[in-house]
């Protein structure tokens, strides 16, 4: 088995530092909520639908209470009180909160005890919905075992959910194990989740609950007809991170792109907002048994993949620390890393091999996610196909868990049917032709591959020391990750962050937290 030297002491120290970094942020998280979190809670309790103008009721309610300066009590507080006051269902209660002529200002009325009692059944129902979806998924997976690792992951992105469904089945037919529907270009900056099935979208398809249902049904069909479990993936990311996590949890999705810092760095979303949102989304994800895919691979599209390889590793430790705090288990952590080194650099393959193996060894129980070359792809689709083959080879040789397949048309368009077919065919070949390669070779203990691994871990450790010293807020504002700088109070969605009242109420989050 080919391994690189990994100093366990250093790894332990990295974890310790990452934990300290997360602990610092957790104080902030515990003291704050966001409009996204509160909308999530409403959805989880069963608030559904849109107004005549198409605005989701959860937005109407949360915005109303936010404007009134009452959101710091937690929307569940008001929901509970509405139920005590006679609303026959959560739905009715939510409507009351949204449209009711007089607003509950939170004073007087039902006692805490009454309110708790009123909301408790709804909390139980919410948890049961997650558990039910999780159990159904498990059963289907038992009946139809997934393929061998590396699991072959492809994206579909027609913009039209019905076409996506067709593409997903086509991908499964061609050998895909995981199908992700990527989102429309602008969705992550929307501070609401669109409603219903959608058939238009640039660069991807909107994430909506109905779309999740449609696509899940399609992949389940593919699972049954092909006899191999097909995983469904979407994005719990952007301003509605937590709401989408809920939707995915109850619609039985298997994986979610979800990262503690991606939105900050790549979508210029405010960091306070993101840290709070990621925590709540991950609490739901933990319960749902969903695997997250973190976004460190993206760092190497804006920063240099050779010089900044260590930032991927240090961020993985941080993402892990945040995830553990939200109750996720190692088996749910699809930490992301990528094959983004300029292919024309001499020995680039060795550098990639080294990094992939290092990550594999440091996170042995994690379903790590291996991302293909993208940045250096050009429109020479033939060359790109070869570039991807080398990536596939590293994937199978270093035993990556999840492999997002490269597309030869990466620099041209969102993948088409043909592109996915050819990509899957090539990956099937490389994975099979090199099946036992990793077991057959060893790396020279003092060679280029080994030395590179040592260097990357050392640099990651060094960076984590710095970040722990300065705090992540400062580190990000100095461009520690992805060569991108963001300020603590800058970015989108900052005004959606609310400091919790001393009597903030959130029974669902409490229940999720009680779990771990």
């Amino acid at each position: 088995m080919a391994t690189v030297p990994v100093d366990v002491q250093k790894v332990a120290r990295c974890r310790e530092l990452a934990n300290a970094i997360a602990a610092d942020v957790q104080q902030f998280i515990d003291a704050h909520t966001t409009v996204g979190v509160e909308r999530t809670i409403l959805r989880a309790y069963g608030a559904e639908g849109v107004s005549d103008e198409g605005v989701p009721i959860v937005n109407l309610v949360v915005d109303r209470y936010k404007e009134a300066g009452l959101l710091d009590r937690g929307i569940a507080y008001f929901l509970a009180r509405a139920l005590v006051r006679g609303a026959r269902s959560v739905k009715e209660a939510a409507e009351e909160l949204a449209y009711g002529a007089v607003m509950d200002d939170g004073t007087g009325g039902p006692t805490e005890l009454e309110a708790n009692a009123a909301i408790a059944p709804a909390t139980a129902v919410a948890l049961a919905r997650i558990d039910h979806a999780r159990d159904r998924r498990r059963a289907l997976k038992l009946a139809h075992a997934p393929g061998d690792a590396p699991l072959k992951y492809v994206i579909v992105a027609t913009g039209n959910i019905h076409d996506d469904a067709l593409q997903s089945k086509a991908a499964a037919f061609a050998g895909a194990d995981i199908v992700a529907v990527i989102r429309a270009t602008a969705q992550s900056l929307l501070d609401y989740v669109p409603e219903g099935a959608t058939t238009e979208g640039f660069g991807g398809t909107f994430a909506t609950q109905e779309n999740f249902r449609i696509i899940r049904a399609a992949t389940n069909e593919a699972t049954r007809s092909g006899g191999r479990y097909i995983h469904q993936t979407n994005y719990s990311s952007g301003l509605c991170m937590a709401e989408i996590a809920w939707m995915a949890a109850v619609e039985g999705l298997d994986m979610l792109l979800n990262d503690a810092m991606y939105g900050i760095l790549f979508r210029d979303i405010n960091m306070c907002r993101t840290f709070v949102d990621q925590y709540v989304s991950r609490r739901l994800i933990a319960r749902a048994g969903i695997v997250i895919n973190t976004g460190e691979d993206n760092y190497l599209t804006t920063a240099d993949a050779v010089d900044k390889a260590h930032t991927v590793l240090s961020s993985q430790f941080i993402n892990e620390a945040f995830a553990f705090r939200a109750g996720l288990r190692e088996e749910q952590l699809g930490l992301g890393h990528a094959y983004e080194i300029d292919p024309w650099i001499e020995d680039s393959f060795l550098l990639e091999l080294s990094q992939a193996q290092l990550v594999r060894q440091i996170f042995p129980n994690h379903p790590i996610k291996w991302m293909p070359p993208t940045k250096h792809k050009t429109g020479d689709i033939f060359f790109a196909h070869v570039h991807d083959a080398m990536f596939n080879l590293v994937g199978v040789a270093t035993n990556q868990s999840i492999e997002l397949l490269g597309m030869f048309s990466e620099a041209v368009h969102n993948p088409m049917l043909m592109d996915r077919y050819l990509s899957l065919k090539a990956a099937r070949y490389v994975h099979s032709a090199c099946k036992n390669l990793g077991d057959e070779i060893t790396f020279r203990s003092d060679g280029r591959i080994a030395r590179r691994a040592v260097q990357v871990l050392d640099e990651a450790l060094e960076q984590l020391e710095e970040v722990a010293r300065d705090g992540i807020w400062d580190a990000i504002s100095r461009g520690a990750f992805a060569d991108v700088k963001r300020t603590r109070n800058g970015g989108k969605g900052y005004n959606g962050v609310v400091k919790k009242h001393a009597q903030y109420v959130n029974p669902l989050l409490d229940a999720l937290e009680a779990q771990s």
Binding site: V156, T158, N160, D163, Q167, T378, G379, D380, I381, F382, S409, A411, V412, H413, N414, P415, M416, L417, M418
Partner: protein, 254 residues
């Protein structure tokens, strides 16, 4: 009139028409070259052509990859394609038909003709080993198969076939440069016609660039392309022999 049944290229949505092209133009890379590639693509009927890459591939030559939405559609209803019409028969069924309906060994002679030295294809059909797990005609009790190998001249093949009283002649052609396979094939058919025994023998044509339609056009009885299995060939031969009642009036009894 038969209603049209139009199909178009498919990228990711019904009828989006997306196709990929690649080619080299004798021009150096430049904005002008890019425009030339676009125009070239449009001449082929591609709308919104996208020049994905433009690279110098030799002095004075540029390699292009282009994507575009093809405006063309194919009317399936208007396509008439002869397909080799035989039911798929199992090995046992074939042996049984030969035994019961033909009552003697079916004799076939095969060769790769002309300057063509590619025996792998004809061997796959005739030799015991066969192709992809499907055993060759030699392995059948009911067949007597002569494999003359490669680089066989048409007249030698014809002479041998007559000599052994072949029910079928199997011609393989792999080299197709400047259509030499067509000329070679046609020449054999004409030779046999001129010798006056075309009706007494089945002529099969095969190879990676052969299809049934082409074979019929050249005067053969059937054509077999890439991936052909020996059992398909065996099935065709016995079925045709049975149908044509060549059985009784065949070469053998002359």
């Amino acid at each position: 009139m038969i209603p049209k049944e139009l199909i178009r290229a498919y990228g990711d949505r019904h009828n989006d028409g997306m196709v990929q092209m690649s080619f080299v133009l004798p021009i150096v890379p430049s904005a002008r070259a890019r425009e030339a590639a676009k125009i070239f693509a449009m001449e082929h009927g591609l709308a919104d052509p996208l020049v994905a890459t433009m690279e110098a591939c030799a002095e004075g030559y540029t390699f292009f990859v282009v994507y575009g939405r093809s405006k063309h559609a194919v009317d399936l209803a208007a396509i008439e394609v002869p397909e080799v019409s035989t039911r798929a028969l199992s090995r046992d069924e074939i042996e049984a038909i030969i035994k019961s309906d033909i009552g003697r060994k079916v004799v076939v002679v095969g060769a790769c003709t002309g300057a063509d030295a590619h025996t792998v294809g004809i061997d796959a059909i005739l030799n015991y080993k066969g192709y992809g797990g499907d055993k060759g005609l030699e392995s059948y009790k009911g067949f007597e198969a002569f494999n003359m190998g490669a680089q066989v001249e048409n007249d030698q093949l014809a002479a041998r076939a007559r000599a052994v009283g072949a029910d079928a002649i199997l011609v393989s052609q792999v080299i197709t440069q400047r259509d030499c396979h067509k000329e070679n094939g046609k020449a054999l058919v004409e030779l046999i016609k001129s010798q006056g025994w075309r009706d007494e023998v089945l002529l099969l044509f095969g190879g990676p660039r052969i299809d049934h339609k082409l074979a019929l056009d050249l005067g053969f009885d059937a054509g077999f392309g890439p991936g052909t299995k020996p059992s398909e060939v065996a099935a065709f031969v016995v079925e045709r022999l049975r149908e044509k009642s060549l059985v009784r009036g065949g070469l053998r009894s002359e």
